[in-house]
């Protein structure tokens, strides 16, 4: 285990306390007792060395990231198997008409703690990414029930009847480049809107703001098309 600094210990404990306050039933799935002061157990995990950040305002809902994700991992285009998900409706009101949902590589990985078979684990060889070992997964679905996010970021593979989750493209037989932290992620590499980025800095674990943020730059098209009502191109369209 690495990176067991006091800072991370405290952060882990803090998250556990917060999670406990928001959902005791959920925490019971992990088998951990939680008190007002924090966990009875040292709920400390090495930080993942990689995270995906998105900008759901910039996202255009083209699903390219999802098609790329399933292609990289399974060699097929399959929206249901994608480990990053876009949810959209033409009839919902901006900005909730398009949302991106990616695995957060949680500091406090409930999916890992919940997994009874050890399939969902921290991959210490690949930057402590939270991953699921397909060989060990029994398909019990506990990790899916345990994921505190809505929608859950662990993904059910109905073809193999096992769980899967974002591994930052560590295990991608159909991705030419090397994946994982420091490598290539299929969704990042293909997104036409540059609405997904990789970072090795742990985002703020509270709420969504650390994971879904403004990735727009200051140039006119990126900034103004989505935000600024002042921009007018006087030369267009003739």
């Amino acid at each position: 285990m690495e990176d067991l600094s006091r800072r991370n210990f405290l952060k882990g404990a803090g998250v556990a306390a917060g999670a406990a306050a928001s959902g005791a039933a959920l925490m019971s799935l992990t088998g951990c007792e939680v008190t007002e002061e924090g966990s009875k157990y040292p709920l400390v995990f090495p930080e993942s060395e990689g995270y995906l950040l998105v900008d759901h305002i910039k996202c255009c809902g083209c699903l390219t990231c999802m098609l790329a994700c399933s292609m990289a991992h399974y060699g097929v285009a399959d929206l249901s198997l994608s480990r990053i998900q876009i949810v959209q409706s033409s009839f919902d009101v901006f900005p909730n008409d398009i949302r991106q949902y990616q695995c957060r590589q949680c500091e406090f990985p409930v999916c890992v703690m919940a997994c009874p078979s050890g399939a969902c684990h921290i991959d210490e060889e690949h930057g402590n990414v939270r991953v699921i070992d397909d060989e060990l997964c029994t398909g019990c679905g506990t990790c899916i029930q345990a994921c505190p996010q809505q929608p859950h970021r662990t993904v059910w593979n109905s073809k193999t009847e096992k769980s899967s989750k974002c591994d930052l493209c560590i295990n991608t037989p159909y991705l030419e480049a090397e994946g994982g932290p420091g490598g290539t992620q299929a969704c990042v590499a293909t997104c036409p809107m540059y609405a997904i980025v990789f970072t090795d800095e742990m985002p703020d674990q509270r709420g969504d703001a650390g994971y879904d943020l403004n990735l727009r730059t200051e140039n006119a098209e990126s900034r103004d098309i989505v935000e600024d009502p002042e921009f007018v191109d006087e030369d267009y369209p003739f």
Binding site: S80, E176, Y194
Partner: protein
């Protein structure tokens, strides 16, 4: 072998409520999209000369093999069958739509859908993977869809297919789970009422608009199709495909964070706000696999994905609510803006009103219809206009027949297509940029619809920092390599009003063999490449894919990039020539269907105003009102469709404004003869000959034409 195809085509007989499948492999020689759709029509439509509203009419909705694979700009599906729109005969035709429908069809396990027969009562079709249901759409005993607009219908089908599921929770269906909403395409009241300009809407602004298929669906009592697919699409070489997409972004993609100005391609989100010059916070919206999204969701929840011409149909509007709201109405009522408004038609009605020809108690009696509201550009005017067409009330009943039939009914067709006041080009198709671009017009005439299906019609004339001759030289070198190395293909020299320049127009210009070669090339390209291999998005392509819009020096990525994707998906080493050869077969299949419908050479003529002198548009533009976008352009002598035509003088390229362009009847008839001969059609009838069809391995088609005595 995994090759991008889902492997089955869903065949639904609405009369018998039977749902079966056809193996796609039986039709793969036609690639996909338009090719397979036309081949299915040929095989399954037992009376190709039937009326569009006859239950014997067969409708196909097809995808291409690259659809739903992540190949850029292939999330398009194409609808075909006998449309209701063209005049005086309703030709077999095509209409494409973006949105999620094509992508979802493939995820459900189908390359397309065939619709036959007619339901006894209004129905809709629910497809959840391999579970297909034909459900009651009526309000008495069914799912209460009939009578609803396109947005209400889609949202209701969301609920019906998911049993009131609340997103963003995962939806479990029999074969899997998904976070995607159903993909729905549906008609609104306009289609239910058999409007000939009725469209089929998918999502907010995706639309099968051209061809009047909305009315055809209405005649079949088909309200909607909803699809949920949780399956997958297998490809030949997934690793190569994924790398191709990564390379594409790197080398050809449009980086919104570092936009490159100076070329002619539309920037992302080139829909309404840019054109209307009104900005609000919004999402850019792309179809599955998109590389350059064109649609938008705006914070005020109007202008929902409306795009391109549909975004500025209400030319008299001044206020935000009217500008935005009018755009939404088109999609909500599923009406083809190309007919009811595009460029010239709405102005035509305002002209009739302002000149006292139409109104309460006038020669064209429109009763109490509030034309003054339309003229003033109020939102109430837009609502009244669209509702009248959708519900076919009052004067709207006539407009719902299409502008051409409207003019015929009111005795104005001959006069108004002579003056050009009614810009009905050929087959009753409303002018787009058609006449002023001869290639555009000729391709449309030899086909069945507006040429905005493709992109080669648009010659690039602007790249920042380069002179026009430089740009055109580069264009011809790039295109010439693939298009017969004939620079005169792009020379649109025409005869001047005083009769001069006719020799050049015939030798190298619009009446030349070079022009015939370009039209043939474009037809094969359109039917084979754009509409069958892809089906590719015309908007994202926008012409710049060949040259002028993508990559270093705007060199363009076609054809090698698409062929790379095709190899990864299909596992075949296709060349451009291979696809063009298939395109020629598909073109000849379309021509065979037209022939079976009864088309002859004499049908292939333009309206009278195309053969006379002058710019008939200006009068209409003036009537559009102070400040209207096109009116302003017209007043400045810059009619937007009449400029920048490429002329090759034998040694160099130049541009010339063709405001004085018109066709010479005899010269154009001579050109038609050249074209028919060149592509293998009978010079006397314009129909495919036995020799041509046999040489293409289409003997079965020839036999079919011979059986109805319509072989060329």
């Amino acid at each position: 072998m995994a090759n991008g195809y889902a492997g089955a085509i869903l065949r639904i007989n609405l009369s018998t409520k039977a749902a079966t499948t056809i193996p796609t492999s039986q039709y793969e020689e036609w690639l996909g999209g338009a090719g397979i759709g036309a081949a299915l029509f040929w095989d399954l439509c037992t009376d190709k000369a039937c009326d569009c509203f006859d239950p014997k009419n067969v409708i196909t909705i097809m995808t291409g093999p690259l659809c739903a694979t992540g190949t850029p700009s292939t999330g398009i599906s194409i609808m075909q069958g006998i449309g209701s729109y063209t005049y005086p005969k309703t030709w077999f035709t095509r209409s494409c739509s973006g949105g999620h429908f094509g992508n979802m069809i493939k995820m459900a396990g189908y390359d397309g859908i065939v619709l036959e027969g007619k339901a006894a009562n209004p129905v809709w079709i629910s497809i959840i993977d391999d579970k297909v249901e034909i459900r009651d759409a009526t309000n008495d005993t069914g799912d209460m869809l009939w009578g609803r607009d396109a947005y209400e219908t889609q949202e209701r089908i969301y609920m019906l297919m998911t049993e009131n599921h609340h997103y963003p929770a995962w939806l479990d269906v029999a074969n899997g789970s998904t976070l995607q909403r159903p993909a729905v395409c549906c008609i609104a009241q306009s289609g239910e009422n058999l409007g000939r300009n009725a469209a089929i809407t998918s999502n907010g602004g995706g639309s099968f608009s051209q061809g009047g298929f909305g009315g055809v669906w209405g005649s079949k009592n088909l309200k909607a199709i909803g699809v949920i697919g949780t399956g997958n699409v297998e490809v030949a070489d997934p690793k190569a495909l994924l790398q191709a997409r990564i390379d594409y972004k790197e080398n050809w993609g449009y980086n919104i964070d570092e936009p490159v100005a100076g070329a002619r391609l539309p920037s992302p989100g080139n829909g309404d706000p840019d054109w209307c010059k009104i900005y609000e916070p919004r999402h850019l919206v792309g179809c599955p696999g998109c590389m350059r999204p064109c649609r938008q969701h705006i914070a005020n929840n109007t202008v929902n994905e409306t795009h391109c011409g549909a975004s500025h149909w209400y030319i008299t509007a001044r206020e935000d609510k009217a500008i935005y709201g009018a755009q939404d109405l088109c999609d909500r009522y599923a009406i083809n803006t190309n007919d009811v408004s595009f460029d010239d038609t709405f102005k035509y009605l305002l002209h009739l009103y302002n000149r006292g020809i139409m109104g309460d108690g006038k020669a064209i009696d429109s009763g109490d219809f509030p034309w003054e509201e339309c003229d003033a550009g109020t939102y109430a005017g837009a609502v009244a206009y669209m509702e009248a067409i959708a519900h076919r009330t009052g004067i709207g009943n006539d407009i719902a027949e299409g502008y051409t039939r409207f003019a015929v009914k009111h005795g104005r067709f001959d006069d108004d297509t002579y003056t050009g006041l009614l810009c009905s080009m050929n087959y009753g198709i409303i002018n787009h940029h058609t006449f002023t671009n001869p290639t555009w017009a000729m391709c449309q005439l030899m086909g069945d619809r507006d040429l905005n299906e493709t992109s080669v019609q648009a010659v690039p004339t602007y790249i920042e920092g380069q002179t026009i001759p430089q740009v055109l030289d580069r264009w011809v070198k790039k295109m010439g390599k693939y298009a017969n190395n004939d620079p005169y293909m792009f020379d649109v020299s025409w005869q001047k009003p005083d009769g001069s320049n006719m020799a050049r127009a015939k030798a190298t210009g619009i009446y030349s063999e070079s022009q015939a070669r370009l039209v043939a090339w474009e037809r094969y390209w359109c039917y084979g490449w754009m509409h069958s291999l892809g089906v590719f998005c015309k908007t994202a392509y926008g012409g710049g894919h060949w040259f002028g819009g993508y990559g270093p020096e705007f060199e363009g990525f076609t054809p090698n990039v698409e062929l790379g994707f095709a190899k990864a998906v299909l596992g075949k080493d296709l060349s451009l020539d291979d696809v063009m050869d298939i395109g020629r077969k598909i073109f000849m299949l379309f021509r065979s269907i037209y022939a079976a419908q009864g088309r002859v050479r004499d049908d292939e003529v333009f309206s009278k105003f195309c053969y006379r002198l002058g710019d008939p548009f200006l009068e209409c533009y003036e009537d559009a009102g102070e400040g209207a976008l096109y009116a302003a352009a017209a007043r400045e002598g810059q009619s937007p469709t009449r400029k920048n035509m490429a002329i090759y003088n034998g040694s160099a390229w130049e541009l010339d404004n063709n405001a004085d362009l018109f066709l010479d009847w005899d010269a154009f008839e001579e050109w038609k003869t050249k074209f028919y001969k060149m592509v293998g059609l009978s010079e006397t009838t314009g129909r495919p000959t036995r020799a041509t069809l046999d040489s293409l391995g289409m003997g079965k088609i020839a036999d079919g034409l011979q059986a109805v005595n319509r072989l060329g």
